[in-house]
Amino acid sequence: MNLSVQIGKLTLQNPVMVASGTFGYGVEYAQLLDLNQLGAVVVKGIRLHPVRGNPTPRTVEVASGLINAIGLQGPGVDGFIKKYWPFLKKLKVPTIINIWGTTVDEYAEVARRFDTLGGVGALELNVSCPNIKEGGAQFGTDVKLLSRVVAACRKVTELPLITKMSPNVVSIAPYAKAAEDAGSDALAVTNSYPAMAIDIETRKPKLANVTGGLTGPCLKPIAIKLVWEAAKVVKIPIIGMGGIQNAADAIEFMMAGATAVAVGTANFYEPQTPLQVIAAIREFMQQRDIQDVSEITGSVQTTK
């Protein structure tokens, strides 16, 4: 039985990774689970310089979901390399580094820095964070800017590039196609959905940033549809994410067209989720005599 999948030139031992921003830099969870069982570790978004992040409150729990506005707090490229890379580079599974910037040049510079570092599995281009004033979603919701960011990174690195797509577009198809045409090796579908919550007693927003990004189980049906739409227009692999809590959710994403999946918000309440998903995908395949996990990808029957 084969569970391994291919993301560009990167081979993953299984199709289950973790979603950027829900797994820190891996080391935080190392005491609770064996990271080497994962498909890949995906770290929190990093730009060139350290980022302080947004004021608090930064998250609020809503029905079957979580709204966050962390503001990409992080150590910057140098801080990351010094503090976290010595741990990550020793892992047997690939590390995918989520990168961002406020200009096309900054994206390219961060990509170049990680290209020269050596040992990085892939880069995930965060062009879809809704919680920062500059950078993030402004690149992912403008086809021309998106193409420029991907092309600029493509020029400086041969590492697999994964473009993390915004859900906040009328149709994901032109964006997916633009990322593919500009040289992206894969798509991550999707990021959090812009959202807001209000305290009716104080009449104040529940987040200091006023708005945030919605994640968790309530996002799943939206993300499934986006994966399905993107899969119809691109040949490159798609990593599906949005509210995955168990193998059934993961398999649903794969049937919609995802080659791999990422567990996000569920890590917060159950850090074992990614490993449970891997075990249960294996069981699902055994029960149905599926030899290769790729047989599931895109197997949804939409015609009668």
Binding site: L32, P57, T59, G65, G216, F268, Q272
Partner: protein, 261 residues
């Protein structure tokens, strides 16, 4: 830090407002240090996307306990769970209190409401006994007074409505005690943010060190999500540090109250 499915030994109403939950957690219990917390997943809550953090109250053999108030959906469901039912626990978490050394500063503990729970282990494991100042709105908000007395600590109670102990805020007898003598003292506090801020200010004015246990909204509890951050002095400036990891206990001099919400 361990994740363990634990069994409820007892879960009973402790006072009119609080419950006392005891769980058997053989691997976790011996690791617990004063001021640390447990991140609890209330398993029957299928739709919840978060665990709930609770200060650890007492440790006895292979069990530990927490005190909680039934205030939201999570604690309401928890309050209905009986002995034998299971919870998932990640613990012990966070950086706790520095246990006083014999012959060092006299510890003065300051607790507001169920902040008292977070201080029990500190009082129990401190080789030097001191005073516990505990405050609440009403008599029912004053928790574990007897437990602290049983440890041989001097317990000074204040309530805002005067229904028990001295009438007023917990900071009043604390300030009086600090003025009364010039002996070396150290403050340890846990309670609502307003109280912690007041204790921090008193510590600064009285030039006594203080360790404050901060209570912030939390998601992951292990340092990845960056929800529970507070502004803390670092280098020439400041940075957001995690209450779940660098805290919950911070040196009061490092907290930037003017930036904190």
């Amino acid at each position: 830090m361990l994740e363990q499915t634990v069994q409820i030994v007892s879960n009973e109403r402790d006072t009119d407002s609080h419950f006392r939950l005891v769980v058997r957690a053989s691997r976790i219990a011996p690791l617990i240090q004063p001021g640390q917390f447990a991140h609890v997943r209330v398993l029957p809550m299928k739709d919840a996307v978060l665990r709930r953090p609770f200060s650890i109250f007492q440790v006895e053999g292979d069990t530990f306990s927490i005190l909680y108030k039934s205030v939201g959906k999570g604690t309401e469901v928890l309050a209905r769970m009986g002995p034998g039912k299971e919870l998932s626990v990640i613990a012990p978490l966070g950086h706790g209190f520095t246990v006083p050394k014999r012959g060092g500063e006299t510890p003065l503990l300051v607790a507001g409401g169920y902040g008292m729970a977070a201080m029990y282990l500190l009082a129990q494991r401190s080789p030097q006994k001191g005073i516990v100042f505990v405050g609440g709105r009403r008599h029912v908000d004053i928790l574990c007074e007897k437990e602290f007395q049983a440890l041989g600590w001097d317990v000074r109670v204040t309530t805002e409505d005067g229904s028990h102990g001295e009438k007023g805020l917990v900071t009043k007898p604390l300030q009086a005690e600090l003025k009364r003598s010039t002996a070396r003292r150290k403050l340890f506090a846990c309670g609502p943010t307003g109280m912690l801020k007041a204790v921090g200010k008193i510590a600064e004015e009285s030039r006594v060190p203080a360790e404050l246990s901060m209570d912030e909204h939390m998601c992951c509890g292990v340092g990845v999500c960056l929800t529970c951050v507070i502004p803390v002095k670092a280098g020439d400036g400041w940075e957001y540090q995690r209450t779940c990891t660098e805290g919950p206990v911070f040196d009061s001099r490092k907290i930037l109250w003017e930036i904190a919400k």
